[in-house]
């Protein structure tokens, strides 16, 4: 049923720390690997070694430059995957019931056997979280590694999404965001976790922790040193003044 549940028992999701992500793309590779070898249709590539390679990914890393009013620009690496929204517009547009949000944990999934590959859900998603598989022609999206997190065949430390498990800096955390006592909820509260495009009204479960403010540049020796850039003298000084006069 593509109507959204009024309430989910848990809100499993990710918290992504923009302060410490170094943009290494390890989570992209881990995600592609796990989701190619496990649940559902493999994440296909086309022309992988040719001139125009293209493929489906469930997680992609953008990089943005933020130029504050004062001080140097800051580079922010920005992982983006499905935010498992409470008001997921991708679910309600689905004509076949292939897209659904689970009542027990809030994960948004696609039943690939019911997907007709119309692409409407990808249009409805403001975040670009859904991609049509170029080979299987069904809609692919982040499953929050539903086949890892409950998988008792895996060692306990591996029962979290592949992207979280692989992140070398700990920039990604997984947990229940409906429980205020969970580690992820506490992190969100402490660091001012935010929603992406809140004006779209999707109520994302995943939160992003903003980069911490940078220290003021501390210049210890600078003020004590002699000024390097001197006024030009001699011929250059004359040239400088003359050119200034010319306007």
């Amino acid at each position: 049923m593509t109507s959204l549940p009024t309430h989910t028992e848990k809100k499993l999701g990710l918290v992504i720390d923009l302060d410490i992500c170094v943009g290494c793309h390890a989570c992209v590779t881990a995600c592609k690997g796990w989701n190619t070898q496990n649940y559902g249709a493999p994440l296909a590539d086309q022309d992988a070694y040719g001139a125009d390679p293209v493929g489906s990914f469930l997680n992609r890393i953008h990089s943005y430059e933020v130029q504050p009013e004062k001080g140097p620009a800051q580079l922010v690496h920005f992982p983006k995957s499905c935010l498992h929204c409470d008001d997921a517009p991708c679910v309600t547009v689905c004509p076949t019931g292939a897209s659904y949000k689970r009542v027990e944990d809030g994960i948004v999934l696609v039943n690939e056997d019911d997907c007709i590959g119309c692409g409407l859900c990808a249009w409805a998603c403001p975040y670009g979280a859904r991609e049509m598989d170029p080979v299987e022609k069904v809609m692919k999206k982040c499953t929050l590694c539903v086949d890892r997190i409950y998988n008792e065949n895996l060692p306990e430390e591996d029962r979290e999404p592949a992207c979280v498990r692989t992140c070398p800096t700990g920039a990604r955390a997984f947990g229940d965001l409906s429980d205020p006592e969970s580690a992820v909820s506490k992190q969100v509260a402490a660091r001012g976790g935010m929603d992406l495009m809140p004006e779209q009204g999707t109520k994302p479960v995943n939160k992003y922790l903003p980069p911490r403010p940078r220290d003021e540049p501390l210049d210890v020796l600078g003020p004590l040193l002699a000024n390097v850039a001197e006024e030009p003298k001699g011929f250059l000084g004359w040239l400088d003044k003359t050119l200034e006069k010319l306007g």
Partner: protein, 291 residues
């Protein structure tokens, strides 16, 4: 948005077809026998052909019947129901009229209402997309309705009504283009809200996730047609409005000229429907620095 040929054909042809069927259901023109057969055949061919062409863009058309299941939440599913019921009702009406020679007036009126309902559900598939500010507006259903009714009147040979409807359509389309141009800017969604970093400074895309394209950039970040948007708007309006209007209103009536007017309108409607998709900007383009 990527202007998929099958979707442009589907929305334009089925819109025209349901427009014509609506006029036939109301008894304009009041035809019977073989003439009625030709009119209904054209209406069903356009409406049905459009619907069939819509399945060509599906990844799995063999599962298309599943699209009837989610009418409670999905406009696409509702459209499937409306289209199917309308075809059945108009089919019975046409059968009674052409074969039995009986005009079932209430059924015809019901069919006309259902035709309008089908056009409305089609338009709502696009109107509901909050991610595409140009579409997410009350003018989208009216625009689809205006194309269907003006084109339907033209096909139904309503020589007094059609020129007026075509002028109204042209005026509304011009306004819709004009007002739609500003809608992305005024929607409030920017790279600042998309990244949540706007309160720290100016945000710009420094590096995309990969050097090539992907499904999202192909499907949602289409930019080619926008280069020629103004020229295409002029071509569209000349074809779908000015030429048919001159033929109907100024020139003496002839069947050949009427056929030219219909074909010109169809070509113009296709150009404008192409622009409807090609000019629509999806907010995901912000993440790729393309807005």
């Amino acid at each position: 948005m990527h202007p998929a040929v099958s979707i442009i054909l589907f929305t334009t042809l089925s819109g025209l077809g349901f427009g014509l069927l609506a006029f036939l259901g109301l008894g304009y023109p009041n035809v019977e026998g073989f003439t009625a057969f030709v009119f209904f055949a054209l209406g069903f061919a356009l409406a049905g052909g459009g619907l069939i062409s819509s399945t060509f863009h599906l990844g799995h058309p063999e599962r298309a019947l599943k699209a009837f299941t989610q009418w409670r939440s999905s406009w696409l599913s509702r459209e499937a129901w409306f289209a199917a019921i309308t075809m059945v009702v108009m089919g019975i009406y046409a059968f009674a009229l052409v074969i039995l020679g009986i005009r079932l007036i209430p059924l015809g009126i019901l069919g006309a209402v259902l035709c309008v309902g089908t056009i409305f559900t089609t338009s709502m598939i696009y109107t509901q997309m909050k991610t595409v500010p140009r579409w997410h507006h009350w003018s989208t259903p009216i625009l689809f309705f205006a194309y269907a009714i003006a084109g339907g009147a033209l096909l139904a040979g309503q020589t007094t009504l059609a020129p007026m409807l075509i002028l109204a359509l042209a005026a509304f389309q011009l306004w819709a283009w004009q007002s739609g141009d500003a809608r992305f800017r005024t929607s409030g969604t920017t790279l600042a809200t998309a990244t949540g970093l706007g309160n720290r400074g100016d945000v710009r895309s420094f590096e995309p996730p990969h050097t090539g394209g992907n499904y999202l950039t192909r499907e949602m970040v289409h930019v080619v047609a926008r280069k020629h948007a103004m020229k295409l708007r002029i071509i569209g309006i000349v074809l779908f409005a000015m030429i048919p209007w001159v033929i109907l209103f100024v020139l003496p009536f002839s069947h050949i000229l009427a056929a030219i007017a219909v074909l010109s309108h169809l070509a113009g409607a296709l150009v404008s429907r192409w622009l409807f998709f090609a000019e629509a900007e999806h907010v995901v383009g912000l993440y790729y620095g393309k807005r």
